[in-house]
């Protein structure tokens, strides 16, 4: 990340430029792929590296001096974000954070447009739009710098992925020299580009709202729009698209990715800022483990004082909540987060895992590549284990004996693993007791 802090831009009349930020948080009917964890906590509030997923977005937003107002847009109940916003307002005193609730799922662009009056209040020149389900370093100041240098109307954050992973994402074709976006297509069937959409945008307010308006107009004129079909060789994609079929039938649903960005590439000053830093999607519950690792590594590089001090039994980075009790003979790390009031017994081993509030890991137990749900218990000499995935992989499942299984083992809320029991590559729904060894299963 650049260390340059942009000086506050002035508008021609001498008034400081106003930037706002929007975090798209979705709703409870979405995020089903984050089950079983989203059965108990809305995905944006799930803790990775010791903080809710959207807290990491706010940290990045807080570093942009021209932003004072942040909106969370989604369709969760009003009460869902109340406590979070209260806490975040204390932690980020420079930010005013509000939750704007959609009466129904309007799509990523539809929600923005619906709340355009609130967003445009105070006449911001540009708005950042962040999808809450991405994990990255959010180089917002760099995007803002590019926006100014190019006199852009839109800047999208892009990253390079492997060729075979690219078609799972929105693909960007850009001019190699100017970085101008020439073509944008969401989840193409064929290979278009390995530069993909990170789900982080900076829009000029003068450009984005008219673009959405014309998309709505197009929709009304031609209601039976061409639905883009999932590619046949990509099951994960087809799963998402099927999910959305109901929504697509409603005219109100307008999505940035499908309905806006392609047009912008044709008609607007649309640029891509390519990040070389980490980027991962947080879609499935298992993807919380790599996200946890990436945020912890970032905190470690920034010498964050939140992290546990390295020692013979602490392999950094490790986050241990101050109310947790970890026996000094237990060995933790790397990439481990231990939540509030967790107990870790003597000689336990935890690696590449998230242990959530009030859980207990008993003596000599071993937890690898796993998420231990709230208030769960892992018995003595038990082994809860997932499978390591390559850093460059954007998948969270693996093929074992010809069957697709989750790489990360996840125990939902209040699960129990008996003494000496082994659980491997399993997803365990809340309130289950595992008394026998299990592998490669979803336990209902």
């Amino acid at each position: 990340m650049s260390l340059q802090i942009p000086h506050r831009e002035k508008q021609p009349n001498g008034v400081p430029a106003v930037t706002k930020a929007v975090i798209l948080v979705g709703g409870s009917s979405r995020g089903t792929r984050f089950r079983p964890l989203s059965l108990d906590v809305p995905k944006p509030l799930f803790d990775v590296a010791g903080h809710p997923i959207i807290w990491h977005c706010l940290t990045a937003i807080d570093k942009v001096p021209s932003i004072q107002e942040v909106y969370l847009i989604g369709y969760y109940e009003e009460s869902v974000f109340r406590d979070f916003i209260k806490d975040a307002s204390v932690e980020f005193p420079n930010l005013s954070i509000k939750y704007l609730r959609e009466y129904q799922a309007l799509g990523t662009a539809g929600g923005l447009y619906h709340f355009r009056d609130a967003i445009l209040k105070g006449r911001p020149q540009h708005i950042f739009v962040l999808n809450s389900d991405v994990c990255c370093s959010f180089p917002l100041n760099e995007m803002l710098k590019m926006f100014r240098e190019k006199d852009a109307e839109a800047v999208i954050l892009g990253t390079r992925v492997s060729e075979d992973a690219a078609s799972n994402f929105g693909c960007i074709v850009s001019d190699a020299h100017t970085r101008r976006v020439l073509h944008y297509v969401e989840k193409p069937e064929s290979h278009i580009s390995n530069l993909i959409n990170c789900g982080v945008y900076l829009f000029s307010t003068d450009a984005i709202f008219p673009s959405i308006r014309s998309a709505i107009k197009r929709r009304t004129d031609r209601p039976a729009r061409l639905v883009s079909y999932p590619s046949s060789d990509n099951l994960e994609n087809s799963f998402i698209i099927n999910d959305d079929d109901d929504e697509n039938s409603k005219n109100e649903v307008i999505r940035l990715e499908q309905d806006i960005l392609g047009d912008m590439a044709d008609t607007k000053q649309f640029y891509v800022y390519e990040t070389k830093d980490f980027w991962r999607q947080i879609k499935t519950a298992g993807s919380a483990v790599p996200a946890n690792a990436l945020y912890l590594q970032k905190a470690w590089q920034n010498n964050s004082d939140e992290l546990a001090k390295p020692s013979a039994n602490i392999i950094p980075p490790v986050f241990i909540h101050k109310t947790a009790h970890v026996d000094p003979t237990a060995k933790l790390g790397p990439n481990v987060s231990i939540g509030p009031r967790v107990t870790v017994g003597a000689g336990a081993r935890i690696k590449e895992s998230i242990v959530l509030e009030d859980s207990e890991i008993k003596h000599d137990a071993c937890v690898l590549y796993s998420i231990i749900g709230w208030n769960s218990r892992v018995g003595a000499w038990a082994r809860v284990e997932g499978t390591p995935m390559p850093v460059t992989s954007h998948h969270t499942s693996i093929i074992k004996n010809g069957v697709k299984v989750q790489a990360i083992t996840i125990l939902g809320k209040e699960c129990g693993v008996g003494d000496e029991v082994r659980v491997q590559n399993c997803i365990c729904l809340p309130f289950k007791e595992l008394k026998r060894d299990v592998a490669n299963e979803v336990i209902m």
Binding site: G347, A348, R349, K351, D364, C366, E420, R422, Q424
Partner: protein
């Protein structure tokens, strides 16, 4: 008295252990397999032991010379140049077996039990016929060759029925016999089977009897049975009140049947048992959980590891928080990395395992 032990070949069924030591020298219950047999034979008054082998490793001679001295017996190798089956080796060793008129014992080297040689000799003498075979009771006779007695006779064998479909009896050949030297007249020097050729011939003459084995019996020729046999042997020691076993009053002993060599070191907060054998100079770390396993001499199990149904070979190391189970066998000098899981792995000597073995596999 005289005895012949059928050792045979390279013991490939017990690999990877037998890649390092000949099978008779592998420790079973912290005692070499052959020593269990030699001890029992010497106690029954045997002075001449013939080892029927088809190879002759030097390492074996060294150990056997030691036993000759220890028990005041003579041990001879009888080497087959071609495999002679289970009866041929008797003919090959005829000279020794006929050196006097007393009957001789024959036993398979894979069989482990509470050897009843003294009683067997007495019983054989009492009926006066040519041969006696030791039989053991099994739960599923349909998997074996079953013996059937003459009507109204408790021990004289009428016939053998191979894998009976209908119940004809539940006694099977336990692989131990006592035979008169005259039996050697019935055997030719060629590959031939004692079970299929010699015994049926003796039975036809009404000269073969059975002797019921009390207690446990196991053919420990392969790892799975080696572990089961160890459990049976340790239970037998418990039943006898053997002083060899580690006292159940030790805080780390869990469920009994634990045999630990005095030179082994055990760490803090371990839970060991039931059915565990720990050999000489073994080091067990802190917080280790062991059950139904055999740790051979010089091996090391590091802190917090979990080991079940596993044979840890000589000088092997099991890493911290490793988990071994489901008939895993580590050969000599194998290293299992920290936090590694091995499910039914057969690991050849001198290998270092750094990734999980999720499904049973042979690691070359």
């Amino acid at each position: 008295m005289k005895a012949l032990i059928l050792v045979g070949g390279f013991g490939t069924r017990l690999r990877p252990l037998t890649l390092t030591l000949p099978k008779p020298l592998v420790e079973f219950g912290n005692k070499r397999m052959i020593l269990h047999q030699i001890e029992a034979l010497a106690e029954a008054g045997v002075t001449d032991v013939v080892l029927a082998v088809n190879y002759r490793p030097e390492v074996m001679e060294k150990h056997l010379a030691e036993y000759e001295k220890q028990f005041g017996i003579k041990i001879t190798f009888s080497i087959e140049t071609e495999p002679l089956g289970t009866a041929g080796p008797l003919k090959l060793a005829e000279e020794i077996l006929r050196k006097d008129d007393s009957p001789f014992f024959v036993l398979n080297s894979d069989v482990i039990c509470d050897y009843p040689f003294t009683q067997l000799a007495a019983f054989h003498k009492s009926h006066g016929d040519e041969g006696t075979i030791v039989v053991t009771k099994v739960e599923e006779p349909s998997k074996y060759g079953v013996i059937v007695h003459k009507p109204n006779h408790p021990s004289r064998i009428d016939r053998f029925v191979e894998k009976p479909v209908e119940f004809v009896g539940n006694r099977i050949n336990a692989g131990m016999y006592i035979l008169n030297p005259s039996v050697l007249d019935r055997i030719e020097l060629r590959p031939t089977s004692i079970e299929q050729e010699t015994f049926p011939a003796i039975v036809r003459d009404g000269q073969l009897h059975s002797f019921d084995l009390e207690g446990f019996w196991m053919d420990v020729g392969q790892p799975k049975d080696f572990l089961t046999g160890t459990c049976l042997y340790l239970s037998h020691l418990t039943k006898k009140g053997s002083k060899l076993l580690t006292s159940t009053s030790e805080p780390f002993v869990h469920g009994g049947n634990v045999l630990i060599d005095p030179s082994a070191k055990i760490g803090k907060n371990c839970r060991i048992g039931p059915n565990v054998t720990i050999g000489p100079d073994v080091v067990v770390g802190d917080g280790v959980r062991l059950q139904r396993c055999v740790l051979l001499s010089g091996s090391k199990v590091k802190d917090h590891a979990w080991v079940k149904s596993t044979i840890v070979g000589w000088n092997s190391t099991v890493g911290r928080w490793a988990r071994l189970e489901n008939v895993t066998v580590l050969g000599d000098d194998v290293t299992i990395g920290d936090e590694i899981y091995v499910n039914g792995g057969s690991i050849l000597p001198h290998k270092s395992i750094k990734a999980n073995v999720d499904v049973p596999a042979i690691i070359m």
